[in-house]
C-alpha cells in the first residue's frame, strides 16, 4: 500500500490543482464546466507543441512544425496561453450568455458541446497518438518511504508550492479577496463598488491557467493524449464534490484524497485483479458522498433540491 502512496500523491496533486481551478470557477460563476478537461489538455498539448524538437517527426497536421523551445519556457508559455484561452471563452461565449440571462442548465449543455468540440480539435491537430514530452528518462529514487523519479518529485513539490501560492493569493491579495466576495454575494460585491464582470474574467483566466498547469503535470507524470482532460474530468469532479464544491481549500484536500484513494484502492484485497476498475471506486465514493453529505466534507449546506 505504501508503494501506491507515492503514485497516489502524484495523481492527487494533478487532480487537486484541477479541482481547485474547477471549484474557483464554479464558486464565482455557478458554471459547472464540462470543458474544464479540455483546458487541462490544452496545457499539456501546448507545452508539447512548444517543446518538441524542431526535427522531430511530429508535425501537426502537416502545417505546423514544433518549436523546440526549452521545456520550462514551453510550460510557462502554455500556462499563459491557457489563461488567454479561458479569458477569451468568457468574453466571447460566457459573458454574452450571462447577459442574455441564459439558464444554468443551458450553459451546462453549452460547456458539454464546447468540450466535445475542443477535444476533437486537438485530435485533428495533435493526432490520436499517445505522446510524451521530450524529457530524458530517469531512474526512481527513494524519498522518505516512497519511490519516484526526481522529476516527478519536483512536480509534486511544484504542485504543493502552487497550492500554497493559490491559498496565499486568495487570502491576501485584493483580487483574491474580491473573488471570495463575489462568491459570497455578487450583488453585495457590486454594491461595494466591485465590477463583478472583471472579477469573473480574472477568475476564468486564473482557473484556466491552473487547469493548464494540471495538464502539464499530468503530461510529465503520465503521458499526453488529446482526450487526457476528459479522462480525468470525472475524477476532478469527484475531488471537487468530495471537498465541497465552492470551497478552494476543500477542493485541494478533496482532489488529493481522490488521487490517493484511486491509487491506494489498487492495494485493497477485493480489488485484486480488478485494477482497471479503480476509477469506479472513486466515482462510487463521490455518489455516496453526494447522497449522504451533498455539501461535501468542507462545504456548507445549500444544494439539495
Amino acid at each position: 500500500m505504501i508503494d501506491q502512496l507515492g503514485n497516489g500523491l502524484l495523481l492527487g496533486i494533478i487532480i487537486s490543482v484541477a479541482s481547485v481551478a474547477l471549484s474557483l470557477l464554479y464558486s464565482v460563476t455557478r458554471i459547472v464546466n464540462f470543458a474544464h478537461g479540455e483546458i487541462i489538455a490544452l496545457g499539456a498539448i501546448m507545452t508539447l507543441f512548444f517543446s518538441n524538437p524542431v526535427d522531430s517527426r511530429v508535425i501537426y497536421l502537416d502545417r505546423f512544425s514544433p518549436l523546440g523551445l526549452d521545456f520550462v519556457i514551453s510550460a510557462f508559455l502554455a500556462v499563459i496561453l491557457c489563461g488567454v484561452f479561458g479569458g477569451l471563452l468568457e468574453l466571447i461565449l460566457f459573458r454574452p450568455l450571462r447577459k442574455a440571462e441564459v439558464g444554468n442548465i443551458a450553459i451546462l449543455v453549452v460547456t458539454i458541446g464546447l468540450s466535445i468540440f475542443i477535444r476533437h480539435l486537438y485530435l485533428i491537430f495533435a493526432t490520436g497518438r499517445v505522446q510524451n514530452f521530450p524529457l530524458e528518462l530517469e531512474r526512481r529514487v527513494t524519498y522518505l518511504f516512497f519511490d519516484m523519479t526526481p522529476r516527478n518529485f519536483r512536480v509534486l513539490i511544484a504542485g504543493i508550492i502552487v497550492m500554497v501560492l493559490i491559498g496565499l493569493l486568495l487570502t491576501f491579495t485584493r483580487i483574491g479577496k474580491a473573488m471570495r466576495a463575489v462568491r459570497d454575494s455578487g450583488e453585495l460585491a457590486s454594491i461595494s463598488g466591485i465590477n463583478s464582470d472583471n472579477i469573473i474574467l480574472i477568475t476564468w483566466i486564473s482557473s484556466s491557467m491552473l487547469a493548464g498547469l494540471a495538464g502539464i503535470f499530468q503530461g510529465v507524470i503520465n503521458d499526453i493524449r488529446y482526450n487526457m482532460g476528459f479522462l480525468i474530468l470525472l475524477l476532478v469532479f469527484a475531488g471537487t464534490v468530495l471537498g465541497g464544491i465552492g470551497t478552494s481549500f476543500g477542493a485541494m484536500v478533496g482532489g488529493l484524497l481522490i488521487g490517493i484513494f484511486v491509487q491506494v484502492s489498487v492495494a485493497f484485497p477485493f480489488m485484486e485483479g480488478h485494477i482497471e476498475a479503480k476509477n469506479a471506486v472513486a466515482l462510487g465514493l463521490m455518489i455516496v458522498i453526494l447522497l449522504f453529505r451533498p455539501q461535501g466534507i468542507f462545504g456548507q449546506k445549500e444544494r439539495i433540491s
Binding site: R180, D184, I191, G193, I194
Partner: protein, 238 residues
C-alpha cells in the same frame, strides 16, 4: 432648504418585465437630511432603493444625484457617485473577515483604502478589535454595524439603508440607530426604509409614506407620527 442630493421623478420599476412594483415615486433627499420611507408590506420601499442602486431596471422616470441624471447606471458606478447602500439581508460577506469586508467596501479607493479603514476603526473600535474574525460569526447587531461601516469606507454623500433594525434585539436597535445618527451628524444624508415606522419618523427630518408603489403622504416626521391616516394604512380602516 439645502441642495438636493437625491431627486427621484416618477420612478417605475419591478423585478419582472411588465409588472411594476413601483408605479411612479417622487422623492427628494437634501444635504444633511435624514429621510425615512415607511409604508405597509409590499408598498415598494426596498424596491425603490434597489432601483436607485441599479440592481433592478427602472422602466420609467428618472433620478438625479446632485443634479446629474444617473438612471439605470451599473451598480458599481452608482457607488462611485458617492452613494452607499446597506441592503436588508446579505449585507456582509460572511466568509470574509471584518477587515476584508471593509477592504471590499473600499474597492474603488484603491491605494487609499488602508487609511480610510483605519479612520473608520477609530469610530468603530469594536470592529478593529475583531478585525480578523469572519463576518459570519458576528451577532445580528454587530453585522449591521459592519454593514454600515462597509458602506461608509468610501465616505459617501448619501447612504441608503434598508430596514437596519430588522431582526435585531431592542438593545441592538438602539445601537444601530445611534450609529446612524452619528453618521448623519458628520454630514452624510440618509434615506432610510423602516418597518418600525414610529421610531423611524421620530428619528427623521422628513418622511414619505408609500402605498402600493406610489407616494401616499409626506411630511415632517412628527406630523406623520400623529396622522391617523398612517395607522389606517397599516392596520386598515374599519
Amino acid at each position: 432648504m439645502n441642495n438636493p442630493i437625491l431627486e427621484c421623478n416618477g420612478i417605475a420599476a419591478g423585478y419582472v418585465k411588465g409588472l411594476n412594483i413601483l408605479q411612479g415615486v417622487d422623492l427628494v433627499v437634501s444635504e444633511g437630511e435624514i429621510v425615512s420611507i415607511i409604508g405597509p408590506n409590499g408598498a415598494g420601499k426596498s424596491t425603490l432603493l434597489k432601483a436607485i442602486m441599479g440592481l433592478i431596471n427602472i422602466s420609467a422616470g428618472r433620478f438625479f444625484i446632485e443634479g446629474l441624471e444617473k438612471t439605470n447606471l451599473p451598480t458599481h458606478k452608482i457607488v462611485n457617485e458617492g452613494v452607499g447602500y446597506v441592503p436588508q439581508v446579505q449585507n456582509v460577506f460572511p466568509s470574509l473577515t471584518i477587515e476584508e469586508n471593509l477592504e471590499m467596501g473600499s474597492w474603488s479607493l484603491g491605494k487609499n483604502a488602508k487609511q480610510s479603514i483605519n479612520e473608520l476603526y477609530q469610530e468603530f473600535p469594536l470592529l478593529e478589535e475583531r478585525r480578523k474574525e469572519k463576518a459570519g460569526n458576528l451577532s445580528g447587531g454587530q453585522r449591521q454595524i459592519l454593514a454600515l461601516a462597509r458602506a461608509l469606507v468610501t465616505s459617501p454623500k448619501l447612504l441608503l439603508l434598508d430596514e437596519p433594525s430588522a431582526g435585531l434585539s431592542p438593545l441592538a436597535i438602539d445601537d444601530v440607530f445611534k450609529t446612524i445618527k452619528n453618521i448623519n451628524l458628520k454630514g452624510v444624508s440618509i434615506l432610510l426604509v423602516e418597518q418600525n415606522a414610529k421610531r423611524a419618523l421620530k428619528f427623521s427630518n422628513r418622511g414619505y409614506v408609500l402605498d402600493q408603489g406610489r407616494n401616499a403622504y409626506q411630511g415632517t416626521g412628527t406630523d406623520l407620527l400623529d396622522d391617523p391616516r398612517v395607522v389606517d394604512l397599516y392596520l386598515g380602516k374599519l
